[in-house]
């Protein structure tokens, strides 16, 4: 109520232009403080966004945007004609899909299991352990992975050797790269992902469990009938965020594992854009690819949002 009154009085003050000016002047500090932040977003976010127009040019770094020739959608056409790009698009989609199928559900399952732990000390210990990998960089995670999978000194190959299997150079095999990417993703992030679901589970009314128990519902039944439905909105929101980032698997996460031997199955849009754009300097072509990715990402968010609004009433905006 108090805030409503205050709001009304704020607007009443502006019966004239001059009074508005006086109001701004009185709180000038707020306006001054906001300037650097706004400038940051303009310079580092909006100018690059508008700079994406070079996707429709043959951009030359010497001529600039003003002097480079316009070529329309040539680069986009070229993109879909090259088998090389289609291969990369396929990798990106497949890895994104595997990520959604295999990585996304793990934190939900883990959160439910952690919530079932009765010993509080064990619960704390488990949480401490599973959050840890989140804080390690991808370079470190890749280093650890390499150590474990090393053909000569890695523990995995020692175990395989015990069963008489020849050492395998996992990071040098095309067929293992996607599995490695997904596996390290689960190792690094699934523990951390439980936080949000554990918070949602903590919000479940304990009376519900009690009455369910009286009705003779077992633990599994309770999980499906009470826990899952209550955390469903959280799951939907997280799923939406995931869909929106479908093509955004992450440059670092792939780049640290990539080498000429596993490139065919491991190269994704982000790593290709880096190689062809920054290293080989095909500025316009790779901007077209990047723009394609951003626009598809935006569409995915909008579609996902609409679907979820219809299905569950939950939405991001």
């Amino acid at each position: 109520m108090a805030s409503k009154l205050e709001k009304a009085s704020v607007y009443e003050q502006f019966s004239s232009q001059r009074q508005l000016w006086q109001f701004v002047k009185k709180f000038w500090l707020l306006y001054a403080l906001s300037i650097p932040g706004i400038l940051y977003f303009i310079i580092f976010k909006y100018i690059p966004m508008s700079g994406s127009v070079i996707a429709f040019q043959n951009y030359s770094i010497f001529k600039g945007i003003g002097g480079s020739e316009w070529v329309g959608v040539d680069h986009f056409v070229r993109m879909f004609k090259y088998p090389e790009f289609l291969e990369i698009l396929r990798n990106t989609l497949l890895i994104g899909l595997y990520d959604l199928i295999f990585v996304f559900p793990v934190p939900i399952l883990l959160a439910i299991l952690i919530n079932e732990l009765r010993m509080l000390v064990l619960k704390k210990l488990v949480q401490t352990a599973v959050y840890l990998p989140h804080f390690l960089s991808w370079v470190i995670v890749a280093g650890i992975t390499m150590g474990i999978l090393s053909p000569s000194t890695g523990i995995v190959n020692h175990v395989l050797g015990f069963f008489g299997i020849e050492p395998i150079y996992f990071l040098g095999e095309n067929s293992f790269i996607r599995t490695i990417l997904i596996g390290t993703g689960i190792w690094k992030e699934s523990g951390w992902g439980t936080i949000i679901y554990l918070a949602a589970i903590a919000g479940v009314n304990p009376d519900l469990y009690e009455s369910a128990e009286m009705d003779g519902a077992g633990r599994i039944r309770q999980t499906f009938a009470i826990t899952l439905p209550t955390i469903l909105p959280t799951i939907v929101i997280m799923f939406l965020l995931n869909i929106g980032n479908f093509l955004d698997f992450g440059f670092e996460r792939v780049f640290v594992f990539l080498n000429p031997l596993n490139k065919a199955n491991g190269e994704i849009i982000d790593t290709f854009v880096y190689q062809a754009g920054l290293v080989d300097k095909q500025y316009s072509y790779t901007t077209a690819i990047g723009l394609f990715k951003s626009v598809v990402g935006l569409l995915l968010i909008m579609i996902g949002n609409r679907l979820s609004k219809k299905a569950t009433g939950e939405s991001l905006y």
Binding site: V10, L29, I43, P48, A142
Partner: protein, 289 residues
């Protein structure tokens, strides 16, 4: 305490065992790496090292000490973490504060402007060209300024400011406090927990920064630690000829493990704080969305 049936008790045991094993699987690889880094080459090559060093030695670390580029990159990482985080805090707080106040009339447009950057991002090359145009290529600023404000962090800070009781601001204004005084003497001191959370979130990101360094830094003297780590671990790039000599007798595997440990130790040391503040921050942020 609820009474448990036999089936439930079995489930509890299995669940405890499963989650304990899972927790161990997150920690044991790290311990294995640490153990290897302190072991002799012979022990590493025969696979004798599990969770405790075999033929304990410091020779792997001696190779690292001789690599001046590792120290230089370590220093670069410290600089971008400290200075970068200070920039982050200043920039995030100064924008979040007006956005939390009724008297700031551009709240809506600015919030929409920030939200748009969350769902649509510019491709790499235009970003690169802007950094280049600003003359930031091959300078540590390129690893600090372009990530001054995280949209997610901004919303965390804003909702914290909004949660402060407005009576506090009103009463201090009656006491004759100017706008600057309110921010400096009342709001910021009360916001220490939120600022600490943000500082930790930002600084971990700076410490682990890799992609931007690959994009924007060519000068070998300016690379951060993560870049150097990957070179040593994956490309066997070592510095001095003396090191090559030593590598004749020491297998590179042990040195690689030692390098990984050097990159991980700072994170492990601050992990207790990290866990506490990060969880807080995650929950603050998720309440918002």
């Amino acid at each position: 305490m609820r009474k448990m049936t036999k089936g439930q008790r079995i489930f509890n045991y299995m669940n405890s065992i499963f989650l304990s094993l899972l927790g161990l699987s997150m920690v044991l690889p790290l311990i294995n790496i640490i153990a290897q880094s302190f072991s002799s080459s012979a022990a590493i090559n025969t696979g004798a090292v599990s969770l405790w060093p075999v033929d304990a030695t410091l020779s792997n670390y001696k190779v690292i000490v001789g690599d001046s580029l590792i120290w230089r990159s370590f220093l670069n990482s410290v600089i971008i973490t400290v200075v970068g985080t200070l920039i982050n805090l200043a920039a995030t707080a100064t924008l979040a504060y007006p956005l939390s106040r009724q008297e700031y009339l551009f709240r809506k447009p600015v919030l929409i402007m920030v939200l748009c950057t969350m769902i649509f991002s510019a491709p790499l090359i235009p970003n690169f060209l802007v950094i280049r145009e600003l003359g930031l290529l091959d300078s540590l600023w390129a690893l600090m300024l372009p990530m001054s404000i995280g949209a997610f962090h901004l919303f965390i800070m804003r909702s914290f400011f909004m949660s402060l009781p407005s009576e506090l601001i009103d009463s201090s204004r009656i006491d004759g406090c100017g706008e600057l005084g309110i921010l400096w003497k009342i709001v910021l001191p009360l916001s220490k927990p939120a600022l600490a959370t943000l500082a930790i979130m930002y600084s971990v990101a700076h410490w682990n920064r890799y992609a931007e360094a690959i994009y924007f830094i060519r000068d070998r003297n300016l690379i951060p630690l993560q870049v150097r780590l990957r070179e040593v671990v994956f490309q066997n790039q070592f510095e001095d000829p003396t090191n090559y000599m030593m590598l004749q007798t020491i297998s590179p595997e042990g040195v690689k493990m030692a390098v990984i440990v050097v990159g991980t130790i700072p994170i492990i040391l601050v992990y207790p704080f990290l866990q506490k503040y990060f969880v807080k921050g995650m929950l603050l942020g998720s309440v918002k969305s």
